[in-house]
């Protein structure tokens, strides 16, 4: 596979991950614990995707991993704030 296709495929995978977890989130309306769990799952998948994506690109650095972890943590905090408030 040509290298230039890799980022495109990665972003398609990210799109699928995001849209399917949002659908799952929608499907669990009324169950706040499940929504928080799906939010955590979404963040974990995103951090994993970020690490794999940068590893494939060849620019994975601890700073990048920390950034993805913090972005995931912000998302979880936001979800808990809205769902459990």
């Amino acid at each position: 596979m040509k290298k230039r296709w890799i980022p495109i495929i990665n972003f398609i995978v990210l799109g699928i991950i995001l849209s399917s977890t949002v659908l799952l989130f929608y499907g669990s309306r009324g169950n706040t614990s499940m929504q928080v769990l799906i939010g955590i799952l979404l963040s974990v998948l995103y951090v994993t995707w970020g690490i794999i994506h940068h590893a494939m690109k060849g620019d994975l650095h601890p700073k990048v991993v920390v950034e993805y972890l913090l972005v995931g943590a912000i998302a979880i905090t936001l979800i808990i704030t809205v769902v459990w408030m």
Binding site: F11, L14, G15, L18, S19, T21, V22, F25, Y26, R29, G30, T32, Q35, G39, L42, Y46, W49, G50, H53, H54, D59, H61, K63, V64, V66, E67, Y68, L70, V71, A73, I74, A75, T77, L78, I79, I80, T81, V82, V83, M85
Partner: protein, 304 residues
């Protein structure tokens, strides 16, 4: 000021070509501030519910009128407010709070019909709609009408009577406004409830005090039972600040700012062809947009 804004929002030499707002230490501050906001809100809500609380205005009279309007629109007969069914609804609500469950059947196996029978209503057919955490009466009825199973109950031609209980309490550790609606039809001529009590005498959270087990159902006198049922005709709370609205506003403003900063940062870096070690802005934007969509779908009101 200009330098600060540039440093915070735009990639520049001063911030190592990454907007300061996107640096790991700043992100950590966001998380801490959000956590502080969470705990702070909960604390203030517990201490001063009249200042920071959940705005609720659900009234029996409105639920009854709206339900009958929906029926009238389909050419169906109006339902009569029935004291026994209201008592059954009140018992059901009390049972849900005291046994901490959100279901048509209690953990002990009590069905809605148990409460209907124990209230003395001899039904030929009956049904139950439940709702929790809606902020107003029309929201409850519209949500029921949008759900096929609940709608079926509201527009069933065979029903003649209806009873309601609207109660505030703690369910699964969460402040909950519960609406129990019970429908029925009977061969006997059932006792029709008196007109709903005036709205001013409705129960508010403050009036219910601690909100835990609401009522004692020993063997109340008929008068006590009647006054109790009358007390469950509305839940009206008007805090100075409505928690759900305030929370959403803050969260969406924050998300909007974050996405905006990511767009600007990505645009400037790509235009200036800056090479740096950082996460992918486009991926972050997609991720935060997905979070925004998910949070837009969060609704407090739930049906059963």
């Amino acid at each position: 000021m200009y330098r600060f804004l540039r440093h915070f929002f735009f990639p520049h030499e001063t911030n190592n070509h990454r907007a300061k707002a996107l640096h790991p230490d700043t992100m950590l501050v966001y998380i801490l501030l959000l956590a502080l906001f969470n705990f702070g809100f909960r604390y203030v809500h517990r201490q001063y519910p009249s200042i920071l609380g959940y705005a609720t205005d659900i009234r029996l009279s409105e639920l009854l009128n709206l339900t009958n309007k929906k029926r009238a629109g389909l050419g169906l007969s109006e339902l009569r407010l029935n004291a026994k069914l209201s008592e059954a609804a009140a018992k059901k609500a009390s049972d849900m709070f005291s046994h901490n469950y959100w279901s048509h059947t209690s953990p002990e196996g009590k069905t809605p019909w148990t409460f209907v029978i124990s209230s003395g209503y001899q039904y030929t057919m009956a049904g139950e709609n439940l709702a929790k955490n809606f902020s107003n009466s029309s929201g409850v009825v519209e949500a029921w009408m949008a759900s096929s199973t609940h709608r079926d109950n509201i527009i069933k031609p065979g029903y003649r009577d209806i009873g309601f209980a609207i109660v505030n309490g703690i369910l699964n550790g969460e402040e909950t406004t519960l609406v129990v609606e019970i429908f029925g039809a009977s061969n006997k001529e059932e006792m029709i409830a008196q007109k709903p009590v005036p709205l001013s005498s409705g129960v508010s959270t403050e009036a219910l005090g601690d909100q835990t087990p609401l009522i004692f159902f020993g063997a109340p006198s008929q008068e006590a039972s009647k006054s109790f049922i009358n007390s469950l005709t509305s839940v009206i709370q008007k805090p100075l600040i409505n928690i759900p609205t305030m929370t959403r506003d803050i969260v969406f403003i924050f998300l909007g700012l974050l996405i905006g900063i990511l767009i600007i940062d990505g645009f400037v870096v790509s235009k200036k062809r800056i090479v740096r070690v950082a996460g992918h802005n486009l991926a972050h934007i997609m991720f935060f947009l997905a979070i925004s969509i998910a949070l837009l779908l969060v609704k407090r009101g739930v049906l059963l």
